[in-house]
């Protein structure tokens, strides 16, 4: 009996001892079961499916599990703020750059990615890794910086016999020509229900008048009632008065407007480069692109464009309270690299140096944009991105009023000054 007991007890003790040693050792070699929660507002139809697929690819590479949730953009904006207030942020989440990212950083609710980026060995383009004032990096980019462009429908341009406009006067001529068709085609599309599309257009118009105007006005070297802002406002008024926009534009969502543009009911749409993806898919060979027309007769300032972000890129952040801090920051950086490579393979610009090559040649309109991009020596972030939301939202309310045509230029610029530099 005693011998029998020893026969069973000895190996059992050995196994138990081994398990204890494995569990208690300082460098226990048992891989933790890492599961990361991820929340984004990503819409595959707009930003491309690769931005979503990359999460699983990165997770597989690192051997992590992920719980990914994608929700509607407007809902997301509210939810992530409520999550921040309740200290309930998911392990990884998306943020727009600059002032949108600031609350998370100033609340010390996110982890710096600085070390993870450095130790990854990935070579990021310098503008994507400009350190925050505390010397840290907080976002892992998920896309190249979006800039402001004008999309157009080539079939409609063929019908009116016009070339893409280079100057403001030519732009107005195109609008008049489209209106002359009298077949229900609208000249210019804008989805102003959410108030940001008109705001971006005005930012671009001001930039064409003087690329430094906004910065100077914010620094107090200029006023928002000065010439560049007034001239840009007059151009908005001109567009409104001549009925350049589609019927019901003040209450049309960007996606409803897109549907009209993709259906060939709108000739031109001035917006960010994120729209290339769906526009290529829906319009195919009919899609054309041109740089926003010049305002100055001498063609100056055409090397400047407005863009999505300035110093803090849009991208993924890691919550400070995550159960897996080391794994989460590693994952954020790995995701950035995977999505970078997938985008490069699709012929889109990347932000990390890579060996990946484009599988197929880009759409001609997109190729033209890629060719034009190096010409921009100055990019200015959209104003909303660099001001606090408490200032940005009244600015956008005013912008919608501007596009309703019920406020004069003088009153508009006065109000703009009051909001941005009270």
């Amino acid at each position: 009996m005693k011998r029998k007991l020893t026969r069973y007890l000895a190996p059992a003790s050995l196994i138990l001892a081994s398990l204890l040693l494995l569990g208690c050792g300082p460098d226990a070699n048992v891989k933790k079961d890492v599961e990361l929660s991820i929340l984004t507002p990503f819409d595959a139809n707009i930003i491309g499916p690769e931005s979503i697929d990359a999460f699983q690819i990165a997770a597989d590479q690192l051997g992590y599990k992920i719980k990914l949730e994608n929700i509607n953009g407007d809902t997301y904006k509210t939810r992530i703020k409520v999550n921040l207030s309740g200290n309930e942020l998911p392990d990884l989440f998306f943020t727009w750059g600059d002032s949108d990212a600031m609350p998370f950083i100033t609340a010390k609710a996110v982890l710096p990615l600085t070390e993870a980026i450095k130790s990854s060995g990935f070579q990021f383009s310098p503008s994507y890794v400009t350190p925050f004032t505390d010397g840290n990096l907080y976002t892992a980019p998920y896309t190249a910086n979006d800039t402001f462009v004008v999309y157009y429908n080539k079939a409609i341009f063929q019908k009116i016999g016009k070339e893409p406009p280079k100057t403001w006067d030519e732009f107005i001529e195109v609008i008049k020509a489209v209106q002359g068709l009298k077949d229900g085609t609208y000249a210019l599309g804008i989805g102003e229900k959410e108030k940001w599309q008109g705001d971006l257009l005005y930012n671009q118009l001001v930039l064409r008048e003087d690329p430094q105007a906004f910065q100077k006005a914010m620094n107090g070297e200029m006023k928002f009632t000065d010439a560049p802002f007034v001239e840009a406002s007059k151009k908005v008024q001109q567009l409104v008065k001549m009925g350049a926009f589609q019927k019901g534009y003040l209450q049309m969502t960007p996606s409803e407007m897109n549907e009209l543009f993709f259906a060939g009911k709108i000739a031109m749409h001035a917006i960010g480069t994120w729209n290339f993806n769906p526009a290529i898919e829906k319009l195919g060979a009919d899609l054309g692109y041109f740089t926003f027309p010049q305002s100055k007769p001498d063609g100056s300032y055409m090397d400047a464009t407005t863009s999505m972000f300035g110093s803090i890129p849009n991208g993924m952040m890691v919550a400070g309270k995550t159960k897996f801090p080391a794994e989460a920051v590693k994952f954020a950086v790995a995701y950035s690299k995977v999505v970078n490579d997938l985008k490069v393979k699709k012929g889109q610009p990347g932000w990390i140096v890579t060996d990946a090559k484009a599988d197929t040649p880009p759409h001609p309109a997109y190729q033209q944009y890629l060719d034009d991009t190096p010409k921009f020596t100055m990019t200015q972030p959209w104003w909303f991105g660099v001001v606090d939301a408490a200032v940005g939202l009244p600015m956008r309310d005013l912008s919608q009023l501007h596009y309703s045509g019920t406020i004069t230029t003088e009153k508009y610029v006065e109000e703009l000054q009051k909001i941005l530099k009270p």
């Binding site: 921040l84 207030s85 609350p103 229900k193 019927k247 534009y249 003040l250 209450q251 309703s404 019920t406």
Partner: protein, 294 residues
């Protein structure tokens, strides 16, 4: 039963859970919101005590706020004037003409069963100026002049929103009033007919006085519904264009969750609470009268 009702422990067992839920879900949030309304707080970081400044800002310095109160009051009047008379009319019709009763009861009540968000998206499509059914209908009838930018025209948007919100609530008032009508004994109408009162006269002198309590409930419910309306207006217009459909509830949401001014948002929430309590009390007082018995 009497024994149970005398047993305080037994009463406590039944009452305490409900009381706790009420305290945690209703009273506690109100107290926390009141507390927050005296602070300047972004939802994180330091909370700065500002005393009554948020209230002074709301009542005297926020020019948009009173416009939003005005919009809410337009909705308030619209709902009472449209929902209750129409609900009463449909209830009267179905009380008199029983043919197709089930079908019509379902038809009137269906909008109440569908979520407000789905309904609002549907109305958005109806009002859409390019391919919306309303403008298409006018075109088909040769009434192009009647076409409108229903939700894009700041002069028109509030009324378009009011109409769709009112439409969704008619079924609720219809059901309440129909139940009220069913509770009136048939003998009263028979006696009235013998005395020469029928039709409108009977409705005025018998029906209306006898469903007065139900009408009061309808008015209070419609009023409170209008004062705190959020989802339908938010989905349809988001308060636009140029804030022409902005209600107090939407402003509260925007201040708290878009601008991240939790303190100021809480102040608006307290205003909304007080406004609802005061108006409900006023309506109760105005509409109170001794019960009529025949």
């Amino acid at each position: 039963m009497d024994k149970v009702l005398r047993d305080k422990k037994a009463i406590a067992i039944f009452v305490v859970p409900a009381l706790l839920i009420y305290l945690v879900m209703f009273l506690l949030p109100i107290l926390v919101t009141t507390y927050l309304s005296f602070f300047n707080w972004r939802g994180w970081g330091e909370m700065k005590f500002v005393g009554l400044d948020n209230y002074l800002q709301l009542l005297f310095r926020d020019t948009g706020f009173w416009q939003n109160v005005g919009n809410t009051l337009v909705l308030f009047v619209f709902l009472i004037v449209v929902q209750i008379p129409l609900g009463f009319l449909f209830a009267l019709l179905l009380n008199h003409y029983t043919r197709g009763l089930r079908f019509f009861k379902t038809v009137y009540f269906v909008p109440m069963m569908i979520s407000a968000v789905a309904m609002s998206i549907l109305w958005n499509k109806v009002y859409e100026p390019n391919y919306g059914i309303l403008n298409q209908l006018f075109q088909a009838l040769g009434l192009e002049n009647w076409e409108q930018l229903w939700l894009s025209d700041p002069q028109m948007a509030l009324y378009a929103v009011c109409f769709s919100v009112a439409w969704q609530g008619i079924g609720f008032h219809f059901i309440l009033l129909y139940s009220g009508l069913k509770g009136i004994p048939e003998q009263y109408y028979e006696a009235a007919t013998i005395d020469g009162a029928s039709g409108l006269k009977a409705t005025w002198h018998i029906t209306l006085p006898l469903i007065r309590d139900v009408l009061k409930v309808c008015v209070v419910m419609a009023a409170i519904g209008a004062l705190k309306v959020f989802d339908q207006v938010f989905v349809m217009t988001g308060g636009g264009p140029i804030n022409s459909t902005m209600t107090v509830a939407i402003q509260m949401y925007q201040e708290a969750f878009s601008k991240m001014q939790y303190g100021y948002g809480s102040t608006i929430a307290i205003f909304l609470l007080v406004e609802c309590l005061v108006i409900a009390w006023m309506l109760n007082t105005l509409l109170s009268r001794e019960k009529i018995e025949y």
